[in-house]
């Protein structure tokens, strides 16, 4: 027996410094002294709380501990109920496991009930509908494979494999779902409910908005299908004052007085606060802060964007969860009231589970932002088969349809740290894109870089030129189409190509025209299929 007191042994244990021999001694003392044993148990439990509090899970730990105390006396029926509604604590799960252990029939019964619950959700919830599942699967396939034609490929491969099965797919097993009518009705009910719920709030804020409150934002761009809900729309001059706004359809971009930009895709509901903060209550939103000096207060249903990065997206379409995704820069996201925060880098995403106050990592999947991105990308197509690729798309010669022009935003915003050589190009007239002496880029400010790429035609010969016309929001200050200059500028714009390939427009057959106002670029591709026909376009942001 050592000369150390009970307290000293206990402290050593808690500090993780109790030697093997002393552990046995402490164990013997605990056995002999129930009061000491109880104190030891409490101290160990408390240490665990401290550990969890340090990683931001204190509230959860407390809840779980209290839940465990309460659920100790719950009958098995209630415990199973908690499992079925997804609210069971790990302690409750273990209680159920004890009940199911060695009773396969009971386990099988629970599995059936769980499956039934899932189908009930499928049957009554629009967010769990077959349509929603399919759409979500499509976008996820895009995210996983980085190419748009996954669905087409999926369908063809599955058909090829499955029709070879004995009897193939039994068509009669596929029962029509009458889905359209049901979903439409649900949407109508949803819209009606949203309008009814919003009416009171709208009435409350309308007074403020119509009064003398200063304009805190103004509409920059809208798609032709943009429709606002009456009483929740910007002023006639396109300005927005503090209040609640509801966009029924379309996409609208707004500039806030602080310099930030907010783009929303309808159906969406958002609020502009008196401090020019914005809160997205529902729908899709993209927020852009043009520089570090520009602040932007953005939140969505308990999700606080503490550091918005340069471009951040919010998907608040589903009731139970909100997703945030960083497209450019570094972002920070916190869950209000829980102390849970996450730092997010470019192309990272998190989801907030509102039912359980959880912040979880999810795969980067920008597909939901396609429409909003088309407006935010800063380039519009006027002519030809053009696709504005989503951020994070792999720049590759493969992946597009034959003859399709793909536009990648290579770098949202950068300041060249060295000289950039661009190709020499006269404005206002078509000219052959061929070898030229080049020139140094004049602009020294903030730039954005686009890569315009024609997907080569694998068919023999190209009879007609493929012509495309793109209009950029910002003035074009440099165009690079020669192979060497493209390669030299890759590092400056931070572009990474998926494969080594001959690139550029050097055959002398392709033509290029930059409009006199330097906003529109027309391209006539006539070159061969043996290399990637690419043009880098640099625009000045300020």
């Amino acid at each position: 027996m050592s000369s150390r007191t009970d307290d000293e042994l206990l402290r050593s244990l808690l500090d993780g410094e109790l030697e093997e021999s002393l552990r046995c001694e402490l164990a013997a003392r605990l056995k002999a002294d129930p009061e000491l044993a109880s104190r030891c148990a409490w101290e160990l439990g408390f240490s665990e709380w401290i550990r969890q509090a340090l990683v931001g899970d204190a509230i959860e730990a407390e809840r779980s501990f209290l839940g465990a105390l309460q659920s100790d006396s719950l009958p098995i029926g209630d415990l199973l109920g908690h499992i079925r509604d997804g609210s069971a604590s790990s302690f409750e799960c273990d209680q159920v496991v004890k009940h199911l252990w060695g009773a396969p029939a009971a386990a099988q019964g629970l599995r059936r009930r769980l499956a039934e619950d899932e189908w009930l959700r499928l049957a009554v919830s629009s967010s769990k509908s077959e349509q929603a599942f399919i759409e979500s699967l499509e976008t996820r396939m895009w995210a996983e494979t980085g190419q748009d034609r996954f669905v087409e490929d999926f369908a063809k491969r599955f058909e090829r494999e499955l029709t070879a099965l004995p009897g193939g797919i039994e068509a009669e097993r596929v029962v029509p779902l009458c889905r359209v009518g049901r979903v439409t009705m649900l949407r109508l009910f949803g819209a009606a409910a949203a309008i009814a719920l919003g009416a009171f709030a709208l009435a409350q804020v309308a007074v403020g908005r119509l009064g003398s409150a200063p304009a805190l934002a103004s509409v920059m761009k809208s798609t032709p299908d943009a429709i606002w809900i009456e009483g929740a729309s910007p002023q006639n001059d396109g300005t927005l004052r503090p209040g609640l706004y509801e966009l029924k359809s379309g996409v609208v971009s707004m500039r806030l007085t602080g310099g930030g930009e907010l783009t929303v895709e309808g159906p969406a509901r958002f609020e502009v606060g008196e401090d020019a903060s914005t809160e997205v209550h529902a729908g899709i939103a993209l927020a852009r802060t043009p520089g570090k000096e520009v602040g932007m207060a953005l939140s969505s249903r308990g999700l606080n964007i503490s550091e918005p990065g340069r471009l951040v997206g919010i998907d608040a379409r589903n009731e139970g969860a909100t997703e945030a995704i960083v497209f450019d820069g570094d972002g920070g996201i916190c869950l209000d009231g829980s102390g849970k925060c996450r730092d997010l880098s470019k192309f990272e995403a998190v989801k907030v589970d509102h039912l359980r106050d959880r912040l979880v990592d999810v795969p980067y999947n920008p597909r939901a932002f396609s429409k909003a991105w088309a407006m935010v990308a800063g380039v519009e197509d006027n002519l030809g088969p053009v696709t504005i690729e989503l951020p994070g798309s792999v720049i590759s010669a493969a992946g597009g349809a034959e003859g399709e022009v793909r536009v990648f935003v290579e770098n949202e915003s950068f300041r060249p740290d060295g000289g950039v050589e661009v190709d020499r190009l006269a404005v206002g007239a078509f000219a052959a894109a061929g070898p030229n002496p080049g020139e140094a880029l004049e602009s020294n400010g903030e730039l954005r870089s686009y890569l315009v790429q024609l997907t080569p035609s694998v068919s023999e010969g190209r009879e007609e030129a493929i012509e495309t016309s793109l209009t950029f929001d910002h003035p074009v200050v440099g165009v690079i189409f020669s192979s060497d200059r493209l390669e030299d500028s890759d590092a400056t714009v931070g572009s990474v190509l998926a494969e080594e390939a001959r690139r550029g427009l050097e055959s002398g057959e392709d033509e290029i025209l930059l409009s006199e106002d330097r906003h529109t670029l027309n391209l006539r591709f006539r070159g061969g299929a043996d290399h990637a026909e690419q043009v880098r376009v640099l625009v000045a942001l300020n």
């Binding site: 109920g81 499992i83 997804g86 609210s87 069971a88 799960c93 273990d94 496991v97 199911l100 252990w101 396969p104 386990a107 629970l110 599995r111 059936r112 009930r113 769980l114 499956a115 039934e116 619950d117 899932e118 189908w119 009930l120 959700r121 499928l122 049957a123 009554v124 919830s125 967010s127 077959e130 399919i134 979500s136 699967l137 499509e138 996983e144 748009d148 996954f150 669905v151 087409e152 999926f154 369908a155 063809k156 599955f158 058909e159 494999e161 070879a164 099965l165 797919i169 009669e172 097993r173 596929v174 029962v175 779902l177 009731e319 139970g320 589970d353 039912l355 359980r356 990592d361 999810v362």
Partner: protein
């Protein structure tokens, strides 16, 4: 992508998603993550389509993939887990079959059952439907539903249990009468 391609794709997913989602849930996956796991199973299936043994049932193959995904969940750190509990999933997985003889309601007849269930739900009285929506669409707890319906929580739980039993019976009856089986 042509309309036909998309229709083919939808048909494939439609054929199997309901059974797969029920199966995934039945292994103790958190209700909020069921669709995520089921979608992952479709993607893994696509990537490994060359390994698919044509002599096997496709739905069973999908369920095998999902089963492995759920088993792997137990190795993840707590923050990334999509299951409610390691121990619960272990016992539920032990009771599931890796072969093709999974109970038919979790197998390839799930779609017919789901359609039957939808018909049954449509026939519910208004109050029952509201109760069901509160629980399964709005994900409200029995406590919250009780407050909204001026009931006490045990009565809500009891009412939901009765509704589930009635819907189960209705679904079985419809499926038994259906010529699709």
């Amino acid at each position: 992508m042509t309309t036909t391609d998309r229709e083919r794709f939808i048909e494939q997913v439609r054929e199997h998603h309901a059974g797969l989602r029920g199966f995934v849930r039945s292994l103790g996956v958190d209700p909020l993550w069921v669709d995520d796991v089921a979608q992952e199973a479709f993607i893994v299936a696509y990537n490994r389509l060359d390994e698919f043994d044509r002599a096997r049932d496709f739905g069973a193959w999908l369920r095998g993939i999902a089963r492995n995904l759920v088993i792997n969940e137990r190795r993840k750190d707590a923050r990334r887990k999509r299951i409610l509990s390691d121990n619960l999933t272990e016992v539920l997985i032990a009771s599931s079959s890796a072969n093709d003889d999974e109970p038919e309601e979790m197998g390839d007849y799930a779609l017919a059952r789901l359609n039957a269930l939808k018909e049954c739900v449509r026939g519910l009285p208004e109050k029952s439907l509201r109760l069901l929506r509160s629980r399964y669409e709005d994900e409200h707890s029995a406590q919250d539903i009780a407050a909204a319906f001026s009931m006490n929580p045990p009565a809500v739980r009891k009412a939901l249990e009765r509704l589930r039993t009635a819907l189960r019976e209705c679904m079985e009856e419809r499926v038994a009468l259906s010529p699709a089986r």
